[in-house]
């Protein structure tokens, strides 16, 4: 429940020194916010030397609620599955799309299977961490911060943004699409990022005059929320300007359909969010770290149809997204990665569902990927003492490969340690 961030840590000194709207004089006030650099944010940018200089893009897809790994990457030949899941296992094995003799994808992941066939899908199996928690919120926080000891407050992508990117003039370097609040993975007090629920509606309905007035209104606001307001407004204004150009330039070259049956609580429109992500990538807005969410994976109850629908929805949205990027000639440097706070209990419950679990596979999709299976699938017989799957790959190994191999950031600095290699990238960028 305690989701407060340490707003008192925001450094206002630099902002107040240079950012008083009156100090900027008549021209500053007249032109409104957009023309006046946000001194607070600029001070942060200025402190950042060097950093990432490539154009690689990461798109994280959160499967919120705890995705059932066994129904995503299905063990085809393990007889223990039928004992653990008398109701859920039958159709899931017989209908699975085989990848190898032992594993197959959920039958609704046909588009992603075609990417596998082209060598563009890497699956890391058995991903988790020590002493797993079965609380959604604790585990989400662990995945978001990359810290199972729960001391870290900032998100792993937020830290990456703050440490490795120059966001000066690029408010969209970090962007959460289809959300209203900052996802925990992107949160960092020193990072500038934007949040866009729906780009068609993003902007001031009162027009540029309201925008200018509000920009002036929020300059140098006193109090503990002052810098937060200020940065959010400045970033919003810059984002509006960028979106104005990008939406004029972008034509989708794939069918993003939200007609696929929506499942309970998947109110996040994944396809729409990914279409916005594509627009931002294709039109060269400088996006690097994108985050989208598909909810509804907490399948304690009647999992069979629910989970199949979610898989279908994920598949159609991701397929359209990849197709769109490829058609625009922009897919070669975009890595798509799924994550979820945990997998589900191998033993099904009486409600035709599954309870909170532990280790699960992650999907890594796109041209930068070297297709194949990585890690090792957890045993269905040798479960841990809570009846859950044991992990074989620390989730931070995956982060490490993404950070150092794809983004070219200093993974050791961001994660605070080094982890076993999981070499799922075709041509990792040279080490920093």
């Amino acid at each position: 429940m305690n989701r407060e961030i340490g707003i008192n840590q925001l450094k206002r000194r630099d902002f107040l020194k240079a950012g008083l709207v009156f100090g900027a004089g008549a021209s500053g006030l007249a032109a409104g916010y957009a023309a006046v650099p946000d001194a607070f944010a600029r001070a942060v940018y200025a402190a950042k030397q060097g950093g990432v200089s490539n154009d690689n893009v990461l798109v994280m897809i959160q499967l919120a609620g705890g995705n059932d790994g066994l129904r995503t990457v299905v063990p085809l030949s393990d007889p223990a599955l039928h004992d653990l899941r008398p109701v859920l296992s039958g159709p899931m094995v017989s209908q699975a799309l085989p990848l190898t003799t032992d594993f197959g994808l959920n039958h609704n992941l046909g588009g992603i299977k075609r990417l596998w066939d082209k060598g563009k899908l890497a699956i890391v199996q058995g991903v988790g961490y020590d002493n797993p928690t079965f609380s959604h919120f604790e585990s989400i926080r662990i995945w978001e911060t990359g810290d199972p000891t729960r001391r870290q407050v900032d998100g792993w992508l937020g830290r990456t943004l703050a440490k490795a990117y120059d966001t000066n003039g690029h408010p969209l370097t970090g962007c959460a699409c289809g959300a209203t609040d900052v996802p925990g993975a992107l949160r960092d007090l020193q990072a500038t990022m934007t949040v866009i629920q729906d780009q068609k509606k993003f902007g001031f309905t009162g027009g540029s005059e309201v925008e200018a007035a509000v920009g002036a209104l929020y300059k140098g606001t006193p109090g503990i929320y002052g810098a937060l307001f200020d940065t959010a407004l400045a970033t919003a204004s810059e984002t509006i300007a960028v979106l104005r150009t990008s939406s004029a330039e972008y034509q989708p070259l794939a069918d993003y359909s939200d007609k696929v049956k929506l499942v309970y609580s998947s109110q996040n429109q994944l396809a729409a969010a990914l279409q916005l992500a594509a627009e931002l990538i294709v039109t060269g807005t400088g996006v690097k770290l994108l985050h989208v969410t598909l909810g509804g994976f907490d399948t304690h109850y009647t999992e069979l149809s629910r989970h199949d629908d979610l898989m279908g929805y994920l598949d159609s949205a991701v397929s359209a997204f990849y197709q769109d990027l490829a058609a625009h000639g922009k897919s070669d440097n975009v890595l798509i990665a799924t994550w979820s706070e945990f997998g589900r209990r191998p033993l099904e419950n009486a409600s035709g569902g599954t309870d909170h679990g532990a280790a699960a596979p992650l999907l890594l999709i796109g041209d930068p990927v070297k297709g194949g299976l990585y890690g090792s699938a957890p045993s269905l017989i040798s479960l841990d003492d809570t009846g859950n799957l044991k992990y074989s790959v620390d989730f931070r190994s995956v982060y490490q490969e993404i950070l150092s191999g794809h983004l070219g950031a200093d993974s050791g600095d961001i994660l605070g340690a080094t982890f076993a290699d999981v070499p799922f990238l075709r041509a990792p960028v040279p080490a920093v």
């Binding site: 934007t194 009162g206 027009g207 409600s351």
Partner: protein
């Protein structure tokens, strides 16, 4: 002293009659500004509006005088008693850069406004007047002791399957927030809605969500022990956290886990085994029997019809002993044949429960980072009172921490608080449709919390998307109300205590008309805070 209703700084601007603010060719006289405005200062009241009690034209006017003048200007001299002690003068040196707002909370009137902003959804002029004449202590008593007014009957509730649009129910609740004589009960109902969460999507029957809202309101000011029983057996909750699908033979852990993790004790205070054992002990609850069934066409195009339940009489879940667990469980250190009441009693023995509720209340009503000593003091009081909510909330509102200078504008209004307060400040009663439509972009749709942990609070409400949507709401609300606006100058004092940033003061002064002045007030950072 300059009149805040007139452009005293001499800016020239072209403007239109509507809301648009054209800020063009402004000439700012820096000397005047620096002399008059410091961060977090008070706007001086307009002396010529208080004919019977002219204010001295000098810079060292006290804030009390400013407040007196302002409130009097709106409601007539003598109609309001201001009981505040002498306040600091405005001519004091500016605070250090980056410091907080200057707190006016030594003044009784400011404390009353502070209380109403936090314990209710802001106030109308009439509500403020009445609270000001009662004073802070009597207003606290009145809030706590007045029985919650029942919400009006929601006409669509017997719709088969609860298949009426959720927006109707959202609007019904917002209308009640706007009009209720007991707004504190609504504030607490929203607090519990964000704590004991359910959402209409998974409840899959909007009538059950309507019932839950009625139950939460009735229980909002009772005690945690009886509340937990009502929460556990609430039909929407039985669906939302799957307790209705749990049996003793094969328990579903969802409710057992969240009951301990989010509703009462918090993580780290129970084991995974407690989750499993608790799930056994709690199994057996089912939804109540519908009053009747109706066959309804749910898909006209394909002529699909379904037989759907019709609920006309509110009822809690029913316990079916055949689905229960018939054996001993060991739950939170106690072995035996434990039923639902036993589970709740065991949870309330744990000191962690009072700590969690007290910390959440403190974060929502006092300070985003409450002091641990304060939280423990609240928790002890709460536990000693056998978890009486009134006792807890009284100790919150009457605490030193509640009215400490550091608590002034230390909390961020949730979207619902922001919008309902705006409507009340505008004296507008017809904004519920606008309010319901605007909630989602700011991150708060009633009956649809983002997940089982409810809504975030304070700083987490702010993102690029939500700040823009907060402003857009103000534009939409003023678009509907601009024909009959109350005095914006009075509102600066009634709703912001006249304490605004230099930018807010300046833009307010430059605003060409009443709608633009209201825009500055409602879109200001000051109004987002409480």
């Amino acid at each position: 002293m300059h009149d805040i209703r007139k452009p005293a700084l001499g800016p020239r601007f072209s403007c239109c009659a509507n809301l648009n603010l054209r800020i063009l060719h402004i000439e700012v006289t820096l000397g005047i500004l620096r002399g008059r405005f410091n961060a977090g200062m008070s706007l001086d009241a307009a002396p010529d509006t208080v004919s019977s009690s002219p204010m001295p034209r000098r810079r060292g006017m006290t804030r009390r005088q400013a407040l007196t003048a302002a409130v009097a200007a709106g409601v007539g001299v003598g109609a309001v008693r201001l009981l505040g002690t002498t306040m600091q003068t405005l001519s004091q040196p500016p605070p250090a850069a980056g410091s907080d707002w200057i707190s006016p909370l030594e003044s009784e009137s400011a404390r009353v406004m502070h209380l109403l902003r936090r314990a209710t959804f802001g106030y109308t002029d009439v509500e403020l007047e009445s609270a000001l004449s009662a004073g802070f202590n009597r207003t606290v008593d009145r809030l706590l002791e007045t029985a919650p007014a029942e919400a009006p009957v929601f006409d669509a509730s017997p719709t088969p399957g609860g298949r009426f649009p959720i927006a109707q129910l959202q609007q019904w609740w917002v209308n009640h927030m706007l009009g209720t004589p007991t707004p504190y009960a609504e504030r607490m109902t929203l607090f519990w809605h964000g704590h004991f969460t359910s959402d209409y999507r998974k409840a899959a029957d909007n009538t059950l969500m309507y019932w839950q809202n009625l139950t939460w309101r009735r229980m909002a000011l009772t005690d945690l022990r009886s509340m937990l029983m009502q929460v556990t057996t609430d039909p929407a909750m039985l669906r939302y956290l799957d307790l209705a699908a749990s049996t003793g033979q094969s328990p579903n852990e969802n409710y057992s886990r969240e009951l301990m993790e989010l509703f009462t004790m918090g993580p780290g205070n129970y084991t995974e085994e407690d989750v499993r054992q608790g799930a056994r002990a709690l199994a057996g609850w089912q939804l109540p029997r519908p009053d009747s069934y109706a066959t309804v066409t749910i898909d006209n195009a394909n002529s699909v019809a379904r037989r759907l339940p019709v609920y006309t009489t509110q009822a809690p879940g029913v316990f079916n002993n055949r689905r229960a667990y018939h054996g001993t469980v060991t739950f939170l250190g106690q072995a035996g044949s434990i039923d639902t009441q036993g589970v709740i009693d065991r949870i309330l023995v744990q000191p962690a429960t009072a700590q969690l509720i007290a910390a959440k209340v403190a974060q929502d009503f006092v300070n985003p980072q409450p002091d641990q000593v304060f939280v423990t003091r609240l928790a002890d009081t709460f536990r000693r009172s056998d978890y009486d909510i009134k006792t807890l909330m009284r100790s919150v509102f009457t605490s030193q921490e509640f009215t400490a200078a550091a608590s002034y504008r230390a909390l961020l209004k949730s979207p619902t608080e922001l919008m309902v307060h705006a409507a009340k400040a505008l004296g507008a009663t017809g904004l519920s449709r606008v309010i319901v439509a605007a909630g989602s972009g700011m991150g708060q749709s009633l009956f649809d919390p983002p997940d089982v942990s409810g809504w975030p609070s304070n700083a987490a409400w702010i993102s690029t998307n939500t700040v823009v949507e907060r402003v857009n709401f103000v534009t939409a609300a003023l678009g509907q109300t601009k024909a009959s606006l109350p005095s914006a100058s009075a509102a600066v004092h009634r709703h912001l205590e006249g304490i605004v940033s230099p930018q807010t003061a300046s833009l307010f002064n430059q605003a060409p008309d009443e709608a633009a002045r209201w825009f500055i007030i409602l879109a200001s950072p000051e109004f987002q805070l409480k």
